[in-house]
Symmetry: C2
């Protein structure tokens, strides 16, 4: 599946979030990630995020999951800062 993820977390936790998200997705811009991900990796990603965020301190993570992207279009105005896909 394809997902779009964006987070708004306390400054103290930004680096940890960046590190976890980069393991599974491509960085697009400040606290925004995109990418194809397997169900198994999705579960891992969510599990790791839940270990980091603190709801009581206002942390927020929004994830859009798409079974298919057939009905969508990605448009860029200005520059596209999306990192190239890094093959591990």
């Amino acid at each position: 599946m394809f997902i779009i993820l964006y987070y708004d977390v306390n400054q103290k936790r930004c680096n940890k979030m960046l590190k976890v998200c980069r393991k599974y997705l491509q960085w697009v811009q400040n606290s925004v990630f995109e990418g194809e991900i397997s169900n198994a990796n999705y579960e891992r990603l969510v599990h790791e995020i839940k270990q980091i965020i603190k709801k009581e301190e206002g942390d927020s993570v929004i994830i859009y999951r798409f079974k298919m992207m057939y009905y969508s279009k990605r448009e860029v105005l200005g520059n596209d800062k999306k990192e190239d896909i890094t093959f591990i």
Copy 2:
């Protein structure tokens, strides 16, 4: 159609972007907006954004357009900061 929009623009232009995006969409978190929008309003939004951003200074706006959201799911971890829909 439903769109997800996120921008990464020079600090000087953030307020202008916030103001334009709020006219058509709901604020979700820092520089991230979502919402249903008509084709006509979508054209207006893009036109207004193009008047603001400066590609040569690295400004970036990513827009995902979805004809239908049937194959998607929105998941929230932590808090959902999405503004309620404001009826003008």
